[in-house]
């Protein structure tokens, strides 16, 4: 009787250990962890409590190709690259532009979309073109913290003493500040800009572009195996037109 009890206890223990071991080893190879900042419509945003958008769909297709399940985590834009670099996440799709500084920390895949930095102003604003920002208006420029809009504006305008940059956690916060006249303009990517202008009356996007840039997927520098797999899968999706289909679905639908 005693022996049977002991045996069952040992068996239970073995079972539990196997369960844990199984969990950790299986999940590592079967799940593709993606981080993003879901404040960036139409690339990533919340709909019915789910993160959807162009980046989410492309990631889903890549995961399917690799036979993995996709798991998306939403975090501050400031933290997404650090999350990939430290290995907390496998990859980042966040409308992320390839820049030399970022390339020091992560590997970028081929580019899957083009982004344009534009300037949002209020109707009747004294700012009528991008060049006005470099004049002597000493404007307050709103950006989302650590986006390329922030990096450009800081380097080109604030550091030159031509104006000040107000850095918000989210693009939507910067737009809210613009609406209540706290700042004079917002520099942000074209597609989210369209969404913001549609949602808020009295805002316009300037015709001139601030910068054109390439969106890409960021992966950990050490995990070259996964990098190759993701890069190849993405290239295939671009070649067979899937990526374009997804982009068209969100952007050119109207």
């Amino acid at each position: 009787m005693k022996a049977a009890k002991l045996l069952s206890a040992v068996l239970a223990l073995v079972l539990v250990v196997c369960l844990f071991a199984g969990c950790s080893s299986d999940e590592k190879s079967d799940t593709l962890y993606m981080v993003t900042n879901a404040e960036f419509p139409p690339y990533e945003y919340y709909e019915n409590g789910e993160i959807v958008g162009i980046d989410a769909e492309i990631a889903q297709k890549i995961a399917e190709k690799l036979g993995m399940t996709l798991e998306i985590e939403d975090m501050d834009f400031t933290s997404v690259i650090a999350a990939v670099e430290s290995g907390k996440a496998d990859m980042c799709l966040a409308g992320l532009t390839i820049t030399p500084d970022r390339q020091k920390s992560v590997n970028f895949t081929v580019s899957y979309a083009t982004g344009v930095q534009v300037v949002i102003v209020k109707e009747g604003s004294p700012i009528t073109s991008v060049d006005d920002l470099f004049g002597d208006g000493n404007y307050k420029i709103g950006v989302q913290e650590n986006t390329t809009g922030d990096i450009y504006a800081t380097g080109d305008i604030e550091d030159e003493g031509l104006g000040t940059v107000e850095r918000y956690n989210k693009g939507a916060d910067a737009v809210a500040a613009l609406v209540s006249d706290k700042i004079d303009c917002v520099i942000i990517d074209n597609e989210p800009a369209k969404n913001y202008v549609e949602a808020n009356e009295g805002l316009v996007i300037l015709d001139t572009e601030y910068a054109v840039e390439d969106y890409s997927i960021a992966l950990n520098k050490d995990n070259t195996e996964l990098y190759d797999k993701v890069n190849n899968a993405l290239q295939e999706l671009i070649d067979d037109g899937t990526v374009q289909q997804i982009i068209d679905k969100y952007i050119n639908a109207d």
């Binding site: 834009f77 933290s79 650090a82 920390s105 992560v106 913290e145 650590n146 918000y168 956690n169 706290k182």
Partner: protein
């Protein structure tokens, strides 16, 4: 120099010296101190007024006749109670965001809005600290003051508040330390404070270690220095105990 020290030095140079990124921390430190100092002053003034209203009302409640003056006083007391409930019942970040986007929607001076928001927030906590101090002074002190011919205000001013202040000093210093650290949420409304400064550097360098450690040390040194000052003040106030 050992390897890891060289590595740290290199990281330090990359994080702070390159592109003059230390400027974000200097600006941040300035704003953090500015907001804390002035919010602290507003907090003490608001807190003292509210505490006086609340404690005076409670102390004089027994057998007070319902005159018009008494009625006004009870309205004032009720407003103070409402203020305490609302401010202590909501998070300071939410209050700051409401101030920034709703109440002072047209103001372009973020630091000023933060000073007001944190000042009003701190005032509620300081009020209760002062009230506890005032209530802790024995009623005999008030009676003695009154029987010596002092008016109510004079009794408060010369007898009750000085004693109360000594009692509440540790709690007050505590509230000031909390306030200093609470200002770290000012970054929510695009103010560059110490924390936001670190955050910007993290976003530029993609390295979290250096900026976070340096900012933590900065807060720590500020608090240690302030605690030392309060310690000296307490020692001085104790001189009158003999």
């Amino acid at each position: 120099m050992p390897e890891f020290l060289l590595d740290l030095k290199e990281q330090f140079i990359f994080t702070f010296i390159e592109d003059e990124r230390w400027r974000y921390l200097v600006t941040g430190l300035g704003n953090t101190l500015l907001i804390t100092l002035f919010a602290g002053i507003i907090g003490v003034v608001v807190g003292l007024v509210v505490a006086l209203v609340r404690s005076s009302y409670d102390k004089t409640a027994d057998g007070a006749r319902m005159t018009f003056g008494r009625f006004l006083f009870s309205v004032l007391n009720w407003i103070c109670k409402l203020y305490l409930t609302v401010v202590r019942g909501t998070p300071v970040v939410v209050q700051l965001l409401i101030m920034y986007y709703v109440i002072f929607a047209t103001s372009r001076n973020g630091v000023l809005i933060a000073i007001v928001a944190f000042g009003i927030n701190s005032g509620a906590y300081v009020a209760e600290i002062f009230r506890s101090g005032i209530m802790a002074v024995d009623n005999g002190q008030t009676e003695a003051g009154r029987s010596l011919g002092f008016g109510y205000v004079q009794t408060m001013r010369y007898i009750v508040i000085p004693q109360a202040f000594k009692t509440v000093l540790p709690a007050l210093a505590n509230e000031f330390i909390v306030l200093l650290k609470e200002t770290s949420v000012a970054g929510y409304v695009a103010i560059i404070d110490l924390t936001k400064g670190a955050y910007i550097i993290i976003g530029r360098t993609y390295k979290a270690f250096m900026p976070l450690i340096v900012v933590a040390l900065a807060y720590l040194s500020l608090v240690v220095f302030f605690t030392y000052l309060v310690g000296r003040l307490e020692r001085r106030l104790r001189n009158s105990d003999h």
